[in-house]
Symmetry: C2
Subunit: 217 residues, 2 copies
Protein backbone atom coordinates (compact mmCIF):
# COMPACT_ATOMS: atom_id res chain seq x y z
CA UNK A 1 0.00 0.00 0.00
CA UNK A 2 1.75 3.17 -1.22
CA UNK A 3 0.22 5.38 1.48
CA UNK A 4 1.78 3.30 4.21
CA UNK A 5 5.06 3.38 2.29
CA UNK A 6 4.84 7.14 2.07
CA UNK A 7 4.14 7.51 5.79
CA UNK A 8 7.18 5.39 6.56
CA UNK A 9 9.42 7.35 4.21
CA UNK A 10 8.17 10.63 5.63
CA UNK A 11 8.78 9.42 9.18
CA UNK A 12 12.31 8.43 8.18
CA UNK A 13 12.79 11.86 6.65
CA UNK A 14 11.51 13.65 9.74
CA UNK A 15 13.73 11.58 11.99
CA UNK A 16 16.77 12.32 9.90
CA UNK A 17 15.96 16.01 9.97
CA UNK A 18 15.77 15.94 13.75
CA UNK A 19 18.98 13.97 13.95
CA UNK A 20 20.59 16.66 11.81
CA UNK A 21 19.05 19.36 14.01
CA UNK A 22 20.43 17.84 17.20
CA UNK A 23 23.92 17.37 15.81
CA UNK A 24 23.93 20.93 14.44
CA UNK A 25 22.70 22.41 17.68
CA UNK A 26 25.31 20.63 19.75
CA UNK A 27 27.95 21.73 17.21
CA UNK A 28 26.99 25.34 17.88
CA UNK A 29 27.21 24.89 21.61
CA UNK A 30 30.48 22.96 21.44
CA UNK A 31 31.90 25.66 19.16
CA UNK A 32 31.10 28.46 21.59
CA UNK A 33 32.36 26.42 24.53
CA UNK A 34 35.59 25.80 22.66
CA UNK A 35 35.84 29.52 21.88
CA UNK A 36 35.17 30.73 25.40
CA UNK A 37 37.49 28.12 26.97
CA UNK A 38 40.13 28.55 24.25
CA UNK A 39 39.83 24.78 23.76
CA UNK A 40 41.49 24.02 20.45
CA UNK A 41 40.87 20.27 20.69
CA UNK A 42 37.12 20.82 21.05
CA UNK A 43 37.23 23.34 18.19
CA UNK A 44 38.91 20.75 15.98
CA UNK A 45 36.18 18.29 16.95
CA UNK A 46 33.53 20.74 15.73
CA UNK A 47 35.39 21.18 12.44
CA UNK A 48 35.61 17.40 11.97
CA UNK A 49 31.95 16.83 12.91
CA UNK A 50 30.77 19.24 10.20
CA UNK A 51 31.42 16.53 7.61
CA UNK A 52 28.67 14.52 9.27
CA UNK A 53 26.22 17.42 9.06
CA UNK A 54 26.97 17.91 5.36
CA UNK A 55 26.51 14.19 4.71
CA UNK A 56 23.16 14.27 6.50
CA UNK A 57 22.02 17.17 4.33
CA UNK A 58 23.00 15.34 1.16
CA UNK A 59 21.17 12.23 2.39
CA UNK A 60 18.10 14.34 3.12
CA UNK A 61 18.26 15.96 -0.33
CA UNK A 62 18.39 12.57 -1.97
CA UNK A 63 15.56 11.13 0.09
CA UNK A 64 13.35 14.16 -0.51
CA UNK A 65 14.02 13.92 -4.23
CA UNK A 66 13.26 10.18 -4.26
CA UNK A 67 10.00 10.64 -2.39
CA UNK A 68 8.93 13.39 -4.79
CA UNK A 69 9.98 11.44 -7.87
CA UNK A 70 8.62 8.04 -6.86
CA UNK A 71 5.57 8.94 -4.80
CA UNK A 72 4.62 12.33 -6.22
CA UNK A 73 3.12 13.60 -2.98
CA UNK A 74 0.55 16.39 -3.15
CA UNK A 75 -0.81 19.10 -0.85
CA UNK A 76 0.39 18.74 2.76
CA UNK A 77 2.61 15.78 2.01
CA UNK A 78 4.43 17.67 -0.72
CA UNK A 79 4.67 20.68 1.53
CA UNK A 80 6.26 18.59 4.27
CA UNK A 81 8.90 17.21 1.92
CA UNK A 82 9.70 20.66 0.51
CA UNK A 83 9.87 22.12 4.01
CA UNK A 84 12.34 19.50 5.18
CA UNK A 85 14.42 20.06 2.06
CA UNK A 86 14.55 23.82 2.59
CA UNK A 87 15.03 23.71 6.35
CA UNK A 88 17.90 21.26 5.97
CA UNK A 89 19.88 23.92 4.10
CA UNK A 90 19.36 26.26 7.04
CA UNK A 91 20.65 23.60 9.42
CA UNK A 92 23.64 22.98 7.20
CA UNK A 93 24.47 26.69 7.27
CA UNK A 94 24.11 26.79 11.04
CA UNK A 95 26.70 24.02 11.03
CA UNK A 96 28.99 26.09 8.80
CA UNK A 97 28.78 28.94 11.29
CA UNK A 98 29.66 26.60 14.14
CA UNK A 99 32.78 25.73 12.14
CA UNK A 100 33.57 29.43 11.67
CA UNK A 101 33.33 29.90 15.44
CA UNK A 102 35.65 26.92 15.92
CA UNK A 103 38.11 28.46 13.46
CA UNK A 104 38.00 31.72 15.41
CA UNK A 105 38.94 29.70 18.50
CA UNK A 106 42.07 28.47 16.79
CA UNK A 107 42.82 32.01 15.54
CA UNK A 108 42.58 33.67 18.97
CA UNK A 109 44.43 31.01 20.98
CA UNK A 110 47.06 32.76 23.09
CA UNK A 111 45.77 36.31 22.46
CA UNK A 112 44.77 38.74 25.21
CA UNK A 113 41.32 37.81 26.47
CA UNK A 114 38.45 40.17 27.32
CA UNK A 115 36.67 38.36 30.11
CA UNK A 116 33.46 40.43 30.25
CA UNK A 117 32.96 40.01 26.49
CA UNK A 118 33.57 36.28 26.79
CA UNK A 119 30.87 36.16 29.46
CA UNK A 120 28.53 38.15 27.20
CA UNK A 121 29.27 35.72 24.33
CA UNK A 122 28.39 32.83 26.61
CA UNK A 123 25.03 34.42 27.46
CA UNK A 124 24.42 35.14 23.77
CA UNK A 125 25.21 31.55 22.81
CA UNK A 126 22.82 30.29 25.50
CA UNK A 127 20.09 32.43 23.94
CA UNK A 128 20.94 31.12 20.48
CA UNK A 129 20.96 27.52 21.65
CA UNK A 130 17.57 28.01 23.37
CA UNK A 131 16.23 29.61 20.18
CA UNK A 132 17.46 26.73 18.00
CA UNK A 133 16.02 24.24 20.51
CA UNK A 134 12.63 25.97 20.49
CA UNK A 135 12.73 26.19 16.70
CA UNK A 136 13.39 22.47 16.27
CA UNK A 137 10.69 21.63 18.82
CA UNK A 138 8.17 23.82 16.99
CA UNK A 139 9.15 21.93 13.84
CA UNK A 140 8.60 18.52 15.45
CA UNK A 141 5.24 19.56 16.86
CA UNK A 142 4.41 21.62 13.76
CA UNK A 143 3.33 24.26 16.24
CA UNK A 144 2.88 27.63 14.50
CA UNK A 145 2.50 29.53 17.76
CA UNK A 146 5.70 28.04 19.14
CA UNK A 147 7.49 28.82 15.86
CA UNK A 148 6.43 32.48 15.98
CA UNK A 149 7.49 32.65 19.63
CA UNK A 150 10.87 31.13 18.81
CA UNK A 151 11.37 33.60 15.95
CA UNK A 152 10.73 36.46 18.39
CA UNK A 153 13.74 35.36 20.48
CA UNK A 154 15.91 36.56 17.59
CA UNK A 155 15.33 40.12 18.81
CA UNK A 156 17.27 39.46 22.02
CA UNK A 157 20.03 37.76 20.05
CA UNK A 158 20.39 40.80 17.79
CA UNK A 159 20.39 43.10 20.81
CA UNK A 160 23.17 41.07 22.46
CA UNK A 161 25.15 41.26 19.23
CA UNK A 162 25.00 45.05 19.26
CA UNK A 163 26.10 45.17 22.91
CA UNK A 164 29.07 42.87 22.29
CA UNK A 165 30.04 44.84 19.21
CA UNK A 166 29.99 48.12 21.13
CA UNK A 167 31.88 46.71 24.10
CA UNK A 168 34.58 45.18 21.87
CA UNK A 169 35.19 48.49 20.11
CA UNK A 170 35.61 50.22 23.48
CA UNK A 171 38.16 47.63 24.62
CA UNK A 172 40.04 47.75 21.33
CA UNK A 173 40.23 51.54 21.43
CA UNK A 174 41.41 51.52 25.05
CA UNK A 175 44.02 48.77 24.64
CA UNK A 176 45.61 47.81 21.31
CA UNK A 177 46.53 44.46 22.86
CA UNK A 178 42.88 43.45 22.59
CA UNK A 179 42.43 44.28 18.89
CA UNK A 180 42.98 40.75 17.56
CA UNK A 181 40.69 39.10 20.10
CA UNK A 182 38.15 41.92 19.95
CA UNK A 183 37.89 41.48 16.19
CA UNK A 184 37.41 37.72 16.59
CA UNK A 185 34.80 38.25 19.34
CA UNK A 186 32.83 40.50 16.99
CA UNK A 187 33.07 37.86 14.26
CA UNK A 188 31.86 35.15 16.62
CA UNK A 189 28.97 37.32 17.83
CA UNK A 190 28.16 37.90 14.15
CA UNK A 191 28.09 34.15 13.48
CA UNK A 192 25.77 33.63 16.45
CA UNK A 193 23.54 36.45 15.23
CA UNK A 194 23.32 34.79 11.81
CA UNK A 195 22.53 31.42 13.37
CA UNK A 196 19.53 33.18 14.92
CA UNK A 197 18.51 34.29 11.42
CA UNK A 198 18.68 30.72 10.11
CA UNK A 199 16.58 29.53 13.03
CA UNK A 200 14.08 32.24 12.10
CA UNK A 201 14.02 30.84 8.54
CA UNK A 202 13.18 27.42 9.93
CA UNK A 203 10.38 28.99 12.00
CA UNK A 204 9.04 30.49 8.77
CA UNK A 205 9.02 26.99 7.26
CA UNK A 206 7.01 25.71 10.21
CA UNK A 207 4.41 28.41 9.53
CA UNK A 208 4.46 27.53 5.83
CA UNK A 209 4.04 23.87 6.66
CA UNK A 210 0.86 24.46 8.63
CA UNK A 211 -0.64 27.40 6.78
CA UNK A 212 0.77 27.10 3.24
CA UNK A 213 1.71 30.77 3.60
CA UNK A 214 5.30 31.90 3.08
CA UNK A 215 5.72 34.70 5.64
CA UNK A 216 8.62 36.75 7.01
CA UNK A 217 8.82 36.40 10.79
Amino acid sequence: MPRKQFEDDLKKLRNRFHEMGDITNSAVHKAVRSFVNHDRALAQEVINDDEKINELEIKLEKECFEIMALQQPVANDLRMVITIMKASSDLERIGDHAVSIARATIATKGETRIMDVEKALQFMSNDVKAMVDDTLTSFVLQDVKAAKKAAKEDGDVDEKYREIYKSCLEHMQADAETIVTGTEYIKVAGFLERIGDYATNICEWVVYLSTGKITEL
Copy 2:
Protein backbone atom coordinates in the same frame (compact mmCIF):
# COMPACT_ATOMS: atom_id res chain seq x y z
CA MET B 1 -1.33 19.68 -23.89
CA PRO B 2 0.19 19.50 -20.39
CA ARG B 3 3.75 19.11 -21.66
CA LYS B 4 3.54 22.44 -23.47
CA GLN B 5 2.03 23.97 -20.33
CA PHE B 6 4.89 22.59 -18.27
CA GLU B 7 7.52 23.95 -20.66
CA ASP B 8 5.92 27.38 -20.45
CA ASP B 9 5.78 27.31 -16.65
CA LEU B 10 9.37 26.14 -16.45
CA LYS B 11 10.47 28.90 -18.81
CA LYS B 12 8.64 31.45 -16.65
CA LEU B 13 10.36 30.00 -13.59
CA ARG B 14 13.80 30.15 -15.20
CA ASN B 15 13.24 33.73 -16.30
CA ARG B 16 12.18 34.78 -12.85
CA PHE B 17 15.23 33.10 -11.37
CA HIS B 18 17.49 35.03 -13.74
CA GLU B 19 15.64 38.24 -12.99
CA MET B 20 16.26 37.56 -9.31
CA GLY B 21 19.89 36.77 -10.07
CA ASP B 22 20.45 40.03 -11.93
CA ILE B 23 18.81 42.15 -9.27
CA THR B 24 20.78 40.39 -6.53
CA ASN B 25 24.05 40.75 -8.36
CA SER B 26 23.56 44.46 -8.97
CA ALA B 27 22.56 44.85 -5.31
CA VAL B 28 25.95 43.42 -4.30
CA HIS B 29 27.79 45.76 -6.61
CA LYS B 30 25.75 48.80 -5.57
CA ALA B 31 26.34 47.90 -1.92
CA VAL B 32 30.10 47.79 -2.30
CA ARG B 33 30.10 50.97 -4.38
CA SER B 34 28.08 52.68 -1.67
CA PHE B 35 30.51 51.40 0.96
CA VAL B 36 33.67 52.43 -0.84
CA ASN B 37 32.24 55.85 -1.78
CA HIS B 38 30.61 56.32 1.65
CA ASP B 39 27.39 56.91 -0.31
CA ARG B 40 24.57 56.66 2.21
CA ALA B 41 21.84 57.34 -0.35
CA LEU B 42 22.97 54.43 -2.50
CA ALA B 43 23.24 52.24 0.59
CA GLN B 44 19.64 53.10 1.49
CA GLU B 45 18.64 52.18 -2.06
CA VAL B 46 20.19 48.72 -1.61
CA ILE B 47 18.31 48.28 1.68
CA ASN B 48 15.03 49.28 0.03
CA ASP B 49 15.59 47.07 -3.04
CA ASP B 50 16.02 43.99 -0.85
CA GLU B 51 12.25 43.86 -0.41
CA LYS B 52 12.00 43.18 -4.13
CA ILE B 53 14.48 40.29 -3.91
CA ASN B 54 12.55 38.75 -1.02
CA GLU B 55 9.28 39.09 -2.94
CA LEU B 56 10.85 37.41 -5.97
CA GLU B 57 11.98 34.50 -3.80
CA ILE B 58 8.49 34.09 -2.35
CA LYS B 59 7.01 34.20 -5.87
CA LEU B 60 9.51 31.56 -6.98
CA GLU B 61 8.69 29.34 -3.98
CA LYS B 62 5.01 29.54 -4.78
CA GLU B 63 5.48 28.83 -8.48
CA CYS B 64 7.78 25.89 -7.81
CA PHE B 65 5.27 24.48 -5.35
CA GLU B 66 2.40 24.93 -7.83
CA ILE B 67 4.30 23.23 -10.64
CA MET B 68 5.16 20.30 -8.38
CA ALA B 69 1.64 20.03 -7.01
CA LEU B 70 -0.27 20.48 -10.26
CA GLN B 71 2.08 18.94 -12.82
CA GLN B 72 4.01 16.44 -10.71
CA PRO B 73 7.16 16.62 -12.82
CA VAL B 74 9.58 13.70 -12.75
CA ALA B 75 13.27 13.10 -13.45
CA ASN B 76 15.02 16.11 -15.02
CA ASP B 77 11.95 18.32 -14.85
CA LEU B 78 11.56 17.74 -11.14
CA ARG B 79 15.26 18.27 -10.67
CA MET B 80 15.07 21.60 -12.47
CA VAL B 81 12.23 22.81 -10.24
CA ILE B 82 14.00 21.70 -7.07
CA THR B 83 17.22 23.32 -8.22
CA ILE B 84 15.54 26.64 -8.84
CA MET B 85 13.85 26.43 -5.46
CA LYS B 86 17.10 25.75 -3.65
CA ALA B 87 19.23 28.20 -5.62
CA SER B 88 16.71 30.97 -5.01
CA SER B 89 17.43 30.75 -1.27
CA ASP B 90 21.11 31.25 -2.03
CA LEU B 91 20.28 34.33 -4.10
CA GLU B 92 18.07 35.67 -1.34
CA ARG B 93 20.95 35.31 1.13
CA ILE B 94 23.33 37.01 -1.24
CA GLY B 95 20.82 39.87 -1.19
CA ASP B 96 20.81 39.86 2.63
CA HIS B 97 24.58 40.23 2.59
CA ALA B 98 24.34 43.15 0.17
CA VAL B 99 22.05 44.76 2.77
CA SER B 100 24.58 44.06 5.52
CA ILE B 101 27.25 45.78 3.43
CA ALA B 102 24.91 48.73 2.92
CA ARG B 103 24.30 48.90 6.68
CA ALA B 104 28.07 48.92 7.26
CA THR B 105 28.22 51.92 4.91
CA ILE B 106 25.83 53.81 7.13
CA ALA B 107 27.76 52.72 10.23
CA THR B 108 31.16 53.91 8.99
CA LYS B 109 30.03 57.24 7.49
CA GLY B 110 32.36 59.96 8.79
CA GLU B 111 34.92 57.57 10.32
CA THR B 112 38.63 57.57 9.43
CA ARG B 113 39.08 55.81 6.12
CA ILE B 114 41.84 53.34 5.16
CA MET B 115 42.31 53.97 1.47
CA ASP B 116 44.43 50.93 0.58
CA VAL B 117 41.93 48.60 2.25
CA GLU B 118 39.07 50.32 0.41
CA LYS B 119 40.93 49.67 -2.85
CA ALA B 120 41.43 46.02 -1.86
CA LEU B 121 37.70 45.75 -1.06
CA GLN B 122 36.90 47.13 -4.49
CA PHE B 123 39.10 44.47 -6.14
CA MET B 124 37.53 41.79 -3.96
CA SER B 125 34.02 42.92 -4.88
CA ASN B 126 34.94 42.85 -8.57
CA ASP B 127 36.05 39.23 -8.14
CA VAL B 128 32.82 38.41 -6.30
CA LYS B 129 30.68 40.08 -8.95
CA ALA B 130 32.54 38.21 -11.72
CA MET B 131 32.06 34.98 -9.80
CA VAL B 132 28.31 35.58 -9.34
CA ASP B 133 28.04 36.52 -13.04
CA ASP B 134 29.82 33.33 -14.12
CA THR B 135 27.71 31.30 -11.72
CA LEU B 136 24.44 32.64 -13.09
CA THR B 137 25.64 32.15 -16.67
CA SER B 138 26.58 28.55 -15.93
CA PHE B 139 23.08 28.14 -14.51
CA VAL B 140 21.42 29.57 -17.64
CA LEU B 141 23.52 27.38 -19.93
CA GLN B 142 23.39 24.45 -17.49
CA ASP B 143 27.10 24.18 -18.16
CA VAL B 144 28.76 21.92 -15.58
CA LYS B 145 32.27 22.82 -16.69
CA ALA B 146 31.51 26.55 -16.38
CA ALA B 147 29.94 25.96 -12.96
CA LYS B 148 33.02 24.12 -11.69
CA LYS B 149 35.21 26.91 -13.08
CA ALA B 150 33.09 29.56 -11.37
CA ALA B 151 33.26 27.69 -8.07
CA LYS B 152 37.07 27.66 -8.32
CA GLU B 153 37.08 31.49 -8.33
CA ASP B 154 36.01 31.29 -4.69
CA GLY B 155 39.62 30.50 -3.80
CA ASP B 156 40.78 33.96 -4.89
CA VAL B 157 37.91 35.55 -2.99
CA ASP B 158 38.90 33.72 0.20
CA GLU B 159 42.54 34.72 -0.32
CA LYS B 160 41.56 38.39 -0.71
CA TYR B 161 39.52 38.14 2.48
CA ARG B 162 42.54 36.95 4.44
CA GLU B 163 44.70 39.77 3.02
CA ILE B 164 42.13 42.44 3.91
CA TYR B 165 41.72 40.96 7.38
CA LYS B 166 45.46 41.02 8.00
CA SER B 167 45.90 44.52 6.64
CA CYS B 168 43.00 45.89 8.73
CA LEU B 169 44.47 44.45 11.93
CA GLU B 170 47.81 46.11 11.15
CA HIS B 171 46.13 49.49 10.61
CA MET B 172 44.02 49.14 13.74
CA GLN B 173 47.04 48.27 15.85
CA ALA B 174 49.04 51.17 14.42
CA ASP B 175 46.28 53.78 14.76
CA ALA B 176 43.32 53.49 17.15
CA GLU B 177 41.49 56.03 14.97
CA THR B 178 41.01 53.30 12.37
CA ILE B 179 39.48 50.71 14.72
CA VAL B 180 35.85 51.43 13.89
CA THR B 181 36.36 51.49 10.11
CA GLY B 182 38.81 48.59 10.22
CA THR B 183 36.23 46.46 12.02
CA GLU B 184 33.59 47.38 9.46
CA TYR B 185 35.99 46.66 6.57
CA ILE B 186 36.60 43.20 8.00
CA LYS B 187 32.86 42.66 8.30
CA VAL B 188 32.29 43.77 4.70
CA ALA B 189 35.09 41.52 3.45
CA GLY B 190 33.45 38.72 5.43
CA PHE B 191 30.09 39.38 3.75
CA LEU B 192 31.75 39.31 0.32
CA GLU B 193 33.53 36.08 1.23
CA ARG B 194 30.20 34.52 2.20
CA ILE B 195 28.58 35.71 -1.02
CA GLY B 196 31.28 33.68 -2.77
CA ASP B 197 30.19 30.65 -0.72
CA TYR B 198 26.56 31.10 -1.80
CA ALA B 199 27.65 31.38 -5.43
CA THR B 200 29.54 28.11 -4.91
CA ASN B 201 26.31 26.54 -3.62
CA ILE B 202 24.55 27.62 -6.81
CA CYS B 203 27.38 26.07 -8.86
CA GLU B 204 26.79 22.83 -6.95
CA TRP B 205 23.13 23.02 -7.98
CA VAL B 206 24.15 23.39 -11.62
CA VAL B 207 26.18 20.19 -11.31
CA TYR B 208 23.26 18.49 -9.58
CA LEU B 209 20.92 19.66 -12.32
CA SER B 210 22.97 18.05 -15.07
CA THR B 211 24.37 15.00 -13.30
CA GLY B 212 21.85 14.28 -10.55
CA LYS B 213 24.83 14.17 -8.19
CA ILE B 214 24.97 16.41 -5.12
CA THR B 215 28.64 17.31 -4.84
CA GLU B 216 30.71 19.76 -2.79
CA LEU B 217 32.68 22.06 -5.08
